[in-house]
């Protein structure tokens, strides 16, 4: 694989996550990326499609704080926050936490509203191996925003899932 700075790699991942479904904020919806440019997040494509119904997920507004190196995949602390005023007119409706390699990709689906006050959540998740963790938020206007962060996991959770 080519060498990338973390930023360009992340951008490539975001672009390729659903074959162009996750677009940079400024880019207009345009043709899908060629197959060869698609980084390894193919597992999440059908999951994202289920969530968005095919709508574009733009990069930005969502922030994932997760350790770069998680020693224990059974317990990875994570904070996700969304840049939103959380008013009746403009708030986060639903927030999804997705995992690329867990046997069940949807980690959590969070419902929020203007009474939530701040679009943020801290929790602890399980990760089956080093992978990308993706957060996608649906705003009150129906638009989707997301981000992906890679995590290295030294001791993986869900070993039994592979029949080990």
């Amino acid at each position: 694989m080519m060498r990338h700075t973390p930023n360009t790699l992340r951008r490539r991942v975001l672009k390729g996550i659903a074959g162009g479904v996750l677009l940079p904020a400024s880019a207009p919806a345009r043709a899908q990326l060629p197959q060869s440019a698609r980084p390894p997040l193919a597992e999440l494509v059908p999951v994202l499609k289920d969530i968005t119904g095919g709508a574009a997920v733009r990069e930005g507004r969502v922030k994932l704080q997760i350790p770069k190196l998680a020693e224990n995949g059974h317990l990875v602390p994570l904070t996700v926050s969304v840049d939103s005023p959380m008013t009746a007119a403009d708030h986060v409706r639903t927030l999804y936490l997705l995992s690329e390699k867990n046997p069940r990709p949807v980690i959590a689906k969070i419902g929020m509203g203007p009474d939530t006050g701040r679009a943020a959540l801290t929790t602890r998740i399980r990760l089956a191996g080093a992978q990308y963790v993706v957060a996608v938020a649906q705003m009150s206007d129906g638009s989707f925003w997301g981000t992906a962060t890679d995590v290295i996991v030294t001791e993986t959770a869900c070993l039994d899932a592979d029949g080990v």
């Binding site: 059974h74 317990l75 990875v76 959380m86 936490l97 995992s99 867990n102 046997p103 069940r104 990709p105 949807v106 980690i107 959590a108 689906k109 969070i110 419902g111 929020m112 509203g113 203007p114 009474d115 939530t116 006050g117 701040r118 943020a120 959540l121 801290t122 929790t123 602890r124 998740i125 399980r126 990760l127 869900c158 039994d160 899932a161």
Partner: protein, 107 residues
């Protein structure tokens, strides 16, 4: 009935965004583990958690097996009036749990 520890600030000012924390004692069984006889242990996770503030829902979480054992959540709500903050959750086995705290809101 599963046990939980909750942390809700006892006092707040109207308009403050207050932070609440909940930790539920639950194995969050993934369904992928085997017992000593090689049989699968059934999946059993806290799949739904709702937080209501004076009866109005402020936060809802549908959790999966990707949430670590003894699920811990920290989130926020907007303080408006004095009253009750209630948590309710249910797991795959249908077992329900709840916890509540009161908050005093000053102007």
């Amino acid at each position: 009935m599963s046990l939980a520890r909750i942390l809700v600030p006892p006092k707040a000012r109207r308009g403050d965004v207050v932070d609440v924390r909940i930790a539920i004692q639950h194995p969050m069984e993934t369904g992928f583990r085997m017992d000593n006889n090689g049989r699968k242990i059934a999946k059993n996770v806290v799949n739904n958690l709702v937080c209501r503030y004076n009866g109005a829902e402020v936060f809802r979480a549908e959790l999966g097996s990707g949430i670590a054992a003894n699920p811990y959540l920290q989130f926020y709500f907007l303080a408006k009036d004095s009253g009750k903050v209630e948590f309710e959750w249910v797991d795959d086995a249908g077992e329900k749990g709840s916890a509540a705290a009161s908050i005093a809101v000053t102007a």
